[in-house]
Symmetry: C2
Subunit: 626 residues, 2 copies
């Protein structure tokens, strides 16, 4: 059915398959590409590695005016997004608002040089902020050290090639996690939206506390908050509208201009709301001397002086925690935060890759160095955020150079505008977060998941529920483990097709075809089923091994036992189309006179004719219980 | 190459494959057999289940004089083995010697009724004894409760169908574990062999202690011990010799009789050495009033009165440990001991199965009930032991009924002979253990493992080293986890073959064939490689899916992204020979106009002709860094 193929050069080092061995092995492309890479390295080590590891060297020589304009517009637009986001997200992390801004410029500059994806403006993210709150508990020193150490972990993971770990977080687990985090972040904003006190660590406890304290809610905070949410959602909707898109001639010039303006309104909605409510707050304080809604309060002005991240701090009870204490307090967060940040970042890179492959290693290195640099500016952990990437991509970004303008805008804000930030109402910032975060609840994946594979709902929904009820890292870990169990079950329970066939000479035989590799969890099951199928008749048995692409020692032992068993009961057992690599594993253990392999249909008749086990006496299968 | 096949009835419920869908799915034999089982249950629920769950009902009606003689001889021979073994193994468990005998009769009787493998005489085993020592620390009450609770765990595992867990212990891990345990058991006997004090928990600590204390060794204990070991090894060698086996006419009658006598000498070697040294000890005490070698000491006489296992005990410091305390002290041993006992038992059953399948569930139920029963006789955990099974099988056992005679002999020994046991030298029992246990070190698996799959040496040798250095359950757990990582790596890194082919119309295309299923850990890797291969030219790409027997939602998402990417860069991508089950998963997520499947070679030309993406402009692949 499949035509005989000519091997291409890209299949590389493998010799063409032996004609008798019709089943050829697969090429481990990874090692082939590594070989190619090695050869390439020898030829042009300097330039290729440099372009790969310092991507700016690849694109800067081709930089031109058109790209510069695209990057300028994108950088400024992202700057208008990241400033209100930074103020709001540091609230999620339980830190003073300036620490969000501190993490929004130096990392951007680093990413220009090292980053591989043009649409990733590095800075505070909602998920990283929530995790920072859970790990550092609102202690600035711990959050900054966390940024430093998480940066080192990311860098190490990049250098050690551990990026593949991210692949073990499947789509359903990732969706469940993101959705749970979105709900938790929204919950964390309720206190500012209603100006109430909320206690409790878990999602459930917090909602109980919210309903208990709702009676003490202020009047104007929720009014302002919900008006802001409504405005933000409206502007978001307006921003997504495209005039004239449905008309056959396409949009005309006026429609295009209006569409662009509406897009700008939608993109800058956070900045607009924050500036407008800030002006409102300023006016209220200037006019009445106080504000009926709670305001941000004083924010220290100026760009922070670079300094080493803190390696000790004084606890609330006046004891000093040294470096070892801090590391042990940060605990599993030192691994969880880098992994989650990478997970989010690589998902973004993939979404905006335009079909290019993602260099996960380079992303880890870039984010690692950015995190370390940020920690010298007293920032807490961050990474790429989907919301900003959407804005960035939509603004016509060309290269990572856009980060320069974003970073400069944040520096300007820190230097000149912080005294105005204190008049921004807390409820407005909460509205910014809530109206963005709700779209992170991925309820829309449930339907395709249900249609594609219902079983995948278990890790998806399970992770969602567990992240809301357990500590968040335990929730995602459990989801990953459940998903790994699926893979192990797969490895342990191959499927079979069983057919009664006739050779050309008319001899009946039983063809048993397992559909996947033989590894230790499945070999016993395979052996049991083969014996069971074979016991239903005394005909020769052929084990078709086309799909057995791999085997191990335990499988070989089991095959040896199987061949010995069949030999003892005088029932012929042959192996058909065994790949050379698998064959050598079996031959190393099984007795050669028991382990008979053939590759052409015609051989079977010859084998059967020569087999003295096919005596006229047809022995019945032995009873199950002697 | 493979002829079109006719489906057999055993493939059951699946309809014949659609002609357009050349790739048919595999039948999950497990569910097919479950269906068959259900049907069978409806027809003859009573008899079949009864025979399966109470195996005695299957074989007792066919019991005859020939079988009775075989069982009698086997039962008595095993009895002569189990009595010295029980005395010696209880020493390994750190318990008074009578507790080994207490565990050697009631369990045998239970196994007659419930056991599925005729060659498994249930009783104390070396490995279970060592684990009991590690878990219960020589406290009788804890060891007996452990037997009770481990029995319940085994029973539950049987009822819940958790026997498959044993399959995750691969051959290499099992060999490494057994070898390490053998060395630890041998080490534990050095103190009796040299009559010295040995301290330390780990293998290394114990050997350091042995070398430190060796100067204080007695003279006659090691002399007697090593003479016994020499004699035991000699008798073992004699027992394995077969006279006249090499002559062409086969052995004559005299040779046969002598061979049988030598076999008997080899089989009863433990009993002979124990009785002979016991007589020696009695004579020494009777003649000189004391013995120059250390003797066993007084053993309480009589069969124990059945009583509930202890649910509390008084600690050395006079505090009382209640049931909850005891369970928490036993800890992970409650899971480890049942699993290890089952592992050993099922390995034995397989070795003596004569090609029959093993009912792991029934073994768990039988051993579980036997363990519970034994705990009422104040025994500690046990199971099937390979040494006894070899003897049992070699003595011509026919059914599990042999256990009756073994059990009766133990009862006789308890009732009438315990006062003579006190004169058995400790060094002689140590010699019995050491000369048996050394053959459990599986150094001979290294060579075939090296030839079959060198990678399997890592979990094998790793488990061996870790079991000797860490707590033993951590050692085997680490081995299992390392082995599971192999499977996960397998799932994450499929191999590819890449070929440049031509259609019948002469159009070149790239055929990419992954060799296994698409699950979440591998999908990113697959996508990356496909993009990489495809970027090397702008020819149409065909993804051959014959070997993709399974997929999940994450894979479908990745395929969707892949098809969208190819669509965006106007490079055609087709899917060849997708199994219907996999196809429906992909179709649930991917856009139908992007996801094109074909099943016949001829279709490809038609598809290519119709594809407007194959424009004359050959677009170069986009550069890696924009």
């Amino acid at each position: 059915m499949i035509p005989r193929r000519k091997h291409n050069e890209s299949s590389g080092s493998l010799p063409p398959p032996d004609d008798k061995h019709a089943s050829n092995d697969y090429i481990l492309s990874d090692s082939a590409s590594r070989d190619r890479l090695c050869a390439a390295l020898r030829r042009r080590f300097n330039r290729k590695t440099l372009h790969k590891r310092v991507p700016i060297t690849a694109w800067l020589p081709q930089y031109n005016m058109e790209k510069a304009v695209g990057d300028l517009i994108a950088g400024i637009t992202v700057g208008l997004t990241v400033i209100p986001q930074s103020l709001a997200y540091s609230n999620i992390a339980g830190l003073p608002p300036q620490h969000g801004l501190y993490g929004s410029f130096l990392g951007c500059f680093v990413y220009i040089v090292l980053g591989g994806c043009r649409a990733v403006p590095a800075g505070p993210t909602a998920i990283a902020s929530l995790l920072t709150w859970q790990v550092a508990g609102g202690v600035v020193e711990k959050a900054v050290l966390l940024s430093f150490l998480a940066g080192i972990v990311k860098l190490l993971m990049g250098v050690l090639g551990l990026g593949f770990l991210v692949n073990f977080v499947s789509g359903p687990v990732s969706s469940g996690f993101t959705s749970a985090v979105a709900l938790m972040i929204a919950t964390s904003q309720v206190k500012d939206l209603f100006a109430i006190t909320v206690t409790g660590d878990t999602f459930l406890q917090q909602w109980i506390s919210i309903f208990r304290n709702l009676h003490s809610a202020a009047l104007w905070d929720p009014v302002l908050g919900f008006v802001c949410i409504a405005l933000l959602l409206l502007m978001r909707k307006i921003g997504m509208t495209k005039l004239g898109a449905k008309s056959e001639s396409g949009p005309n010039t006026r429609q295009k201009v209006i569409t662009k303006c509406m897009w700008l309104l939608g993109t800058c909605r956070n900045a607009i709301v924050v500036v407008a409510t800030g002006v409102l707050g300023y006016w209220l304080v200037a006019t009445y001397g106080h504000s009926p809604v709670r305001l941000m309060g004083v924010i220290p002005s100026g760009v922070p002086v670079p300094q080493l991240p803190p390696f000790s701090y004084v606890r609330a009870d006046n004891t000093t925690a040294d470096f070892v204490d801090m590391v042990s307090e940060l605990g599993s967060g030192l691994l969880v935060i880098p992994l989650i940040v990478l997970l989010e970042d690589i998902a973004i890179c993939k979404a905006f890759s335009d079909g290019r492959t993602i260099d996960a290693t380079q992303e880890m290195i870039a984010l690692g160095v950015a995190g370390i640099a940020n920690s010298f500016m007293q920032a807490y952990p961050g990474g790429g955020s989907l919301a900003r990437s959407v804005v960035c991509n939509g603004s016509g970004v060309k290269t990572t150079f856009n980060g320069l303008y974003t970073g400069l805008m944040v520096i300007l804000a820190l230097q000149f505008f912080t005294q105005y930030f204190e008049f921004i109402p807390k409820a407005a910032l909460a509205a910014v977060i809530v109206s963005a975060i709700l779209f992170m609840v991925e309820y829309n994946v449930i339907k395709p998941m249900w249609r594609a594979k219902k079983l995948d709902l278990i890790p998806g929904v399970g992770t969602f529920v567990l992240c809301l009820t357990l500590p968040i890292e335990l929730g995602i870990l459990t989801g990953v483990i459940v998903n790994i169990i699926f893979i192990l079950y797969h490895a342990a329970r191959p499927k079979f097709s069983v057919e009664m066939l006739k050779t050309e000479a008319g001899v009946e035989y039983l063809m048993i075809t397992p559909d996947r590799c033989l590894m230790f969890p499945s070999v016993d099951y395979v052996r049991r089923l083969v014996i069971k199928f074979a016991a239903s008749g005394s005909v020769p048995v052929v084990l078709e091994c086309t799909h057995i692409y791999s085997a191990d020692y335990t499988a070989a032992k089991s095959i040896e036992q199987l061949t010995a068993d069949f030999h003892a009961r005088r029932q012929p057992l042959y192996f058909y189309n065994v790949k050379p690599s698998v064959c050598s594993i079996f031959e190393a253990v099984a007795k050669p006179e028991h382990f008979v392999v053939f590759y052409e249909d015609e051989e079977l008749d010859r084998l059967l004719a020569a087999d003295d086990r096919l005596a006229p006496v047809k022995q019945p299968p032995p009873p199950h219980h002697a």
